[in-house]
Symmetry: C3
Amino acid sequence: MKTNAGRFFEDYRLGETIAHAVPRTVSGGERALYHALYPARHALSSSDEFARACGLPAAPVDELMAFHLVFGKTVPDISLNAVANLGYAEGRWLKPVFPGDTLRAESTVIGLKENSNGASGVVWVRTRGLNQRDEAVLSYVRWVMVRKRDTAAPAPAPTVPELAGSVAAPDLVIPEGLSFADYDLTLAGEPHRWDDYAVGEKIDHVDGITVEESEHMLATRLWQNTAKVHFDATNRPDGRRLIYGGHVISLARTLSFNGLANAQMIVALNAGAHANPCFAGDTVRAWSEVLDKAETAAPGVGALRLRLVAMKHGTEPFVTRSEDGKYLPGVLLDLDYWALVPR
Amino acid sequence: MKTNAGRFFEDYRLGETIAHAVPRTVSGGERALYHALYPARHALSSSDEFARACGLPAAPVDELMAFHLVFGKTVPDISLNAVANLGYAEGRWLKPVFPGDTLRAESTVIGLKENSNGASGVVWVRTRGLNQRDEAVLSYVRWVMVRKRDTAAPAPAPTVPELAGSVAAPDLVIPEGLSFADYDLTLAGEPHRWDDYAVGEKIDHVDGITVEESEHMLATRLWQNTAKVHFDATNRPDGRRLIYGGHVISLARTLSFNGLANAQMIVALNAGAHANPCFAGDTVRAWSEVLDKAETAAPGVGALRLRLVAMKHGTEPFVTRSEDGKYLPGVLLDLDYWALVPR
Amino acid sequence: MKTNAGRFFEDYRLGETIAHAVPRTVSGGERALYHALYPARHALSSSDEFARACGLPAAPVDELMAFHLVFGKTVPDISLNAVANLGYAEGRWLKPVFPGDTLRAESTVIGLKENSNGASGVVWVRTRGLNQRDEAVLSYVRWVMVRKRDTAAPAPAPTVPELAGSVAAPDLVIPEGLSFADYDLTLAGEPHRWDDYAVGEKIDHVDGITVEESEHMLATRLWQNTAKVHFDATNRPDGRRLIYGGHVISLARTLSFNGLANAQMIVALNAGAHANPCFAGDTVRAWSEVLDKAETAAPGVGALRLRLVAMKHGTEPFVTRSEDGKYLPGVLLDLDYWALVPR
């Protein structure tokens, strides 16, 4: 067999590091497409001039673009036979990515636990994105449920990694040179500084985007994500294509500009759940909650820990679960991240 | 409220200048997307070599891309609560925009007139697009009908600006260095020079493009235009998304290549009406009429004043209004502009 | 008439060379769009670093992008009035194309033969793509059936060119500097070298892509291909838009990554048939057959002659024709090409 059938649960070994294929050089082309696919308006990744005024050499590509590119590379090795994408933890952006950079990725298996049914198991990996200088630009833990090829294969010793509930504020990596001392609120689009946000505050981002098949496929291919279920209408019995969860993350994040225009850079991904699948025709909306605040050592730079929830049109904001504790059917995404905000 | 509810009629003050948010650096990515979204074939913005042979340092981005980028920036401040986009006047392109340039925009309120119903009013703004050197690249007047927040708010003294019916030929700004002395008609695609066009001549551009939802949304997001009605199928009672009028302008202009391949650069926007809304599924066609001709001081460069009409398939060309003077339902756009043509 | 009605059969003269219009400068934008439109993962055109490790100055754009750009330029002169695109032969890629290059095209008429019905004829052209240094980057023969304007026009003396059944291995042009001596199989995505492929071997590429209207139109416009039938839903009696055959070629080639990840560069197009039309909604799959193998003089570089077949979902792989010798209705493309593979 010349084609890649993907790994099954019994193919993973605790501690092994998998080098993922297909390095990718990014250019202004990927940035332009990000602006076409999502209503991206954060000034720092839109304008070289704005980024320079904030101490960076040029506008970095959106942090989620870096995430998607790295994530996409892991799919053929990690999630081709995944039944479910269960969670994220300990995600940190370590270096901005600029046009001209080339990204590759590798993942270390940090946990394995067979399910009691013997038909599948959970695999935890810590994935790193690396640039052409072998500098890590991104690191995160993801765990997925993966089918076994052979249900008779012996179960590995169960190892569940201990993961932080969220990235601690002192561990946030502030991009070298970043300063919001001369931050231009007018050019950024909103007057709200770090001090204007209170823990517990909730923001309905108001806008909505109705999703089309071709858009999510353009995006998912752009990140070289090969999961069949996103592209092949014959793959599911219902003839629907499942939208890549990262597409919903980017939609929600960019919709959150309206109310969080100054939450310029994502520096940590604390946790995330794809609560329900998203399909073409859905109109995606978003709301946020301020979970925590922290100071940083960089000039004028504060950090907000934010909960970002994406939902389908018709779902009330600010509620995610029914009385029995399950996600409401209209909730698509429940994400917990840190962003940098001018003080 | 952290989110932007947009300005209402009573929020505008005569003479105030509004600095619009979210500067944008353009690259070859935006140019490539322009070629994917529209059948753009004008050689000057397609080929660096052709542009250099015409005295420019490289291929500028399409003039309408500059227009859309500047226009998009104004939407959150000018037209978020607009009921109708009423007109354009005195538009002039002042500097070509090249990949690497960063654009921002500002608008000055030059007219205000409350409607007799007391529920809305007309706002006139003169908008300027500026590059990273604070040079104006584009300037135009637009007027929109905007809702009042509070119908009891007092009406401002009515001020209706006097606007030129068209930009006078001597006021056209020819890009520095532009020369059509060595213009290559073969590479440009058609043999027709300035002398070959006569005032009154009409051209049916023959081709048609059937519009898809994802295309107009990709385009409109690319220009960072945030008007909800273009993206959110739940926004209108009929569940349809209104296509950004600028998308129709670019479709019509690029369709007009077939017959006006040598109308290389748009230098002025004299007037424009979005006669009827355009929706996905419509097949857009276009025709042009030569309204005027002028010489310029640049070597080999003439100017044509052109009327560009976009219509839905099934509408006869060369007629726009019924006997009662109203636009026919199949007419989408009626635009009046100046373009530069080799003599 | 200012618009281009295209050439009819009687307009072609044996031996004449037609210079095609609209030169085009490519950038990272076109490359990013290629990655969004197709599941392109071949490392050599994805990563500047990978390409440098193979002796090239940077990642070239995909060879099929160069083909589509050149092909698109020929449409207004060659196939606007074509009834059918009959075949390709003697295609060779002569120089890699890099972002920053500007392409133009010219075609020489090498054969003419009127059909016995007197209503149309076959035109053979040899098309060359040229860069800004007037170096040929691509050359291929295509023949099309073209309508006559006037059935009474006299038939030319029939001239049918002798064409090679396939490009001979010694005639393959290996890009200057190319070396697979240090080829990284892990980064490339598959372990299979030239030695691992046997003549007669067949590979089902497994994956499928369901095609959307907006995607094929974005692609076809991007190559500045103006054939009406791809864009205008009113053009055919059945209201369907015919998908540009080159879109199917790129879909099939990129799907073939899964099993042929190391078939990095296309260097020759031996033959090709668009067996049946493709429409939006079709799910495209692909399979390949190894037709031949050859060594080259470049370090570590072998060549595989491959047959690439695209088919609609539901069609069995490895069979293309029914008992009467006709293509099965689910077969879309039957292509014969040479690619370079590490030894």
